[in-house]
């Protein structure tokens, strides 16, 4: 692997992609650097997931190039593609654990596919990864026997099975309660500290954005491209685009709106009493 710090880990050059004849993203260019946590944000339907699907090779871009460590992914042949796939793990929105396999089999399948480790060593790694995400001892459980939060952690364990240099997250805290979603954030931070992993996260969760992100890029449905790029606190404070500022407005910036709402509802109740 190329360790030159000047070469970006992921480089996306004028990427145009979409489905069928609909263009979802047009001429998108950005780079992700080593050990960086990049959040991709934007309103619903702005192409966040499409961008992610392009980055992990599930969707062929119409135009443009995606390069990992300076090597093109779009133009890679089967062998090169496999080598690049090895360098990243993906945590899917629905977890996408293989439902017909136990957790142990789920985690050891990538190892089986890409390494020549002995079954005993693989078992060892499986136990290690499960412990890392706080699921020690649940090797023989099937995904359907786990709660949503546990499935999410198991999926993270699988994404980390090959100690990838890059991990992609699709809505990591979607559908989790606030406590578990905070734990998930902690887990993500911990992984980055331990392994120096580069992370690309698609998310709406404001708290996670401010807690984790080094940099965010914001996509827009109207321009089909990036409308803002930078550190989240900076963007929230200084962005020229009011839409960007609105999007990144945190709850503690909204006390008067909350008050206004509660005043309104008081009035409603009063009215009802009157009538």
């Amino acid at each position: 692997m190329n360790d030159d710090p000047n070469v970006p880990v992921i480089e996306v050059k004028s990427l145009t992609c979409g489905y069928g004849e609909t263009v979802v993203l047009k001429e998108v260019t950005f780079a992700v650097h080593a050990r960086e946590v990049l959040f991709v944000i934007g309103g619903s339907g702005c192409g966040k997931s499409t961008l992610l699907r392009c980055l992990i090779g599930l969707l062929k871009p119409f135009q443009g190039d995606i390069a990992y460590y300076g090597k093109s992914f779009t133009a890679a042949d089967a062998g090169q593609r496999r080598n690049i796939l090895k360098t990243f793990g993906v945590l899917y929105q629905n977890n996408a654990l293989w439902s017909s396999m136990t957790l142990a089999e789920n985690i050891s399948l990538p190892l089986e596919e890409h390494t020549s480790l002995s079954p005993a060593d693989r078992q060892e790694i499986v136990a290690l990864k499960l412990t890392e995400v706080g699921l020690a001892g649940s090797e023989e459980l099937y995904p359907s026997e786990l709660s949503g939060g546990m499935q999410k952690r198991a999926a993270l364990a699988r994404a980390l099975a090959l100690d990838p240099a890059i991990v992609f997250f699709d809505e990591p805290s979607e559908g989790l309660d606030p406590i578990i979603s905070r734990e998930m954030d902690e887990l993500i931070l911990q992984v980055r500290e331990n392994f120096g992993t580069t992370m690309v996260i698609v998310s709406h969760q404001l708290s996670s954005i401010f807690r984790l992100a080094d940099r965010v890029i914001m996509l827009s449905h109207e321009t089909k491209g990036i409308i803002a790029e930078g550190a989240p606190t900076e963007l929230a404070a200084t962005s020229a685009d009011s839409h960007v500022r609105d999007f990144l407005k945190r709850d503690d910036d909204l006390p008067d709106r909350v008050n206004k709402n509660s005043a309104g509802s008081d009035k409603l109740i009063k009215n009802e009493n009157k009538t």
Binding site: I56, G57, L58, R81, R82, L85, K86, F88, V90, Y92, Q93, N94, A96, L97, W98, S99, L109, P110, E113, H114, R158, K267, L268, N271, K274, T275
Partner: protein, 353 residues
């Protein structure tokens, strides 16, 4: 106008036009009078009133109504004379074009899937140790287990029906013993394999489509691809091989049950002893009849497996998509089986088998 009482959507609401009738009021002022509980029905009533007033150039005042009701009324813009959306006109030419496009798209998908499967099988031949043998065995077991009761029942009954129908005709000529020939040949050459194939298409083919379709909806197939595992090699090939191997075995079993069905009718209705029936069957039904029937079963199995896996893996990402994929897998499977059978009928005829 005074408005009072309870206004509920699930109770009858007076029509605005009916309230005023031909009585010409200059302007309308709505005033609450013992107004009880109200919901959207009152809003709707007042919106109609406002539209009616606007149409007949009258003023419409609601200031006396509760503030929250006025707020709701303001949310409905004055101009909203809501029209139902126009029905999309379907033009024959557009329909033909889109159907053509769909067909071309599907044909492309099918060909690429077939290609991937072929490459996959070549890969398996080169590195047999990398094949998921265990998955294949599990699928075989499931295919056998789930089809067996239905295959037993259906093929036994097919034998019974055939024997019964032919017995009525053949008895008139005193040729009842030939029931054994007729049942034996038609079951072994055609009906045994066909019935088994239909049941496998309905059971195993549908299961493949539903399983793979669900895996696609849950992104499990994507997860395989991003780990660098070809979903065709991992999911489709073991299933294809399993159903291809199991199909002739099930057909052989169906043959036996079909002949037994014929034997049962002959013994009970025609008074032909089972041993005589068996000897007659043995004399007439040769090895080539049995093997020709079983040989085409390999292709039936392959067709059913391909239809199931293809529909499942190209399934739309929704619950409805899985349903469509499953039913389409069964229909495609049965259609392919019949087509293959017709093809084999011609080939066997030319070869003189």
């Amino acid at each position: 106008m005074q408005i009072g009482g309870d206004w509920r959507l699930n109770e009858p609401v007076p029509a605005w036009a009916g309230v005023f009738g031909k009585e010409a009021a200059a302007n309308v002022r709505v005033v609450p009078e013992n107004l009880g509980q109200w919901d959207t029905s009152l809003v709707l009533f007042l919106v109609h009133g406002r539209a009616w007033c606007a149409a007949s150039k009258k003023e419409f005042h609601t200031e006396a109504m509760p503030e929250n009701l006025q707020a709701l009324l303001r949310q409905v813009p004055v101009s909203s004379v809501t029209k139902p959306p126009p029905k999309a006109a379907v033009r024959l030419r557009d329909l033909a074009a889109s159907t053509g496009e769909k067909w071309a798209h599907h044909a492309g998908q099918n060909v690429s899937f077939l290609g991937e499967c072929t490459l996959g099988f070549i890969g398996v031949a080169k590195h047999p140790c990398r094949f998921r043998w265990l998955d294949c065995l599990v699928e075989m077991q499931q295919c056998w287990g789930s089809s067996l009761p239905m295959v037993s029942l259906v093929s036994f009954l097919v034998g019974v029906i055939l024997a019964f129908q032919s017995a009525i005709q053949l008895q008139q000529f005193g040729a009842a013993i030939y029931v054994a020939d007729l049942v034996g040949l038609s079951v072994v050459r055609e009906l045994g394999p066909m019935m088994a194939a239909f049941i496998v298409a309905g059971g195993t083919g549908a299961r493949f489509a539903a399983q793979l379709g669900n895996m696609r909806v849950d992104e499990e197939v994507d997860a395989l691809e991003t780990v660098g595992i070809s979903s065709v090699n991992f999911l489709a090939l073991p299933r294809l091989l399993a159903v291809t191997v199991m199909m002739p075995i099930l057909a052989l079993y169906a043959n036996v049950l079909g002949v037994l069905g014929g034997m049962f009718v002959s013994a009970t209705m025609l008074n032909i002893p089972a041993s005589a029936y068996w000897i007659e069957t043995q004399n007439r039904v040769g090895f080539s009849d049995v093997s020709s029937g079983l040989f085409k079963c390999l292709f039936f199995g392959l067709a059913i497996g391909l239809a199931g896996c293809l529909r499942g893996m190209k399934c739309e990402r929704s619950a409805a998509g899985v349903g469509t994929a499953t039913s389409s897998a069964v229909v495609t499977g049965i259609m392919l089986v019949v087509l293959a059978d017709a093809l084999f009928a011609v080939i066997y005829n030319v070869l003189g088998v």
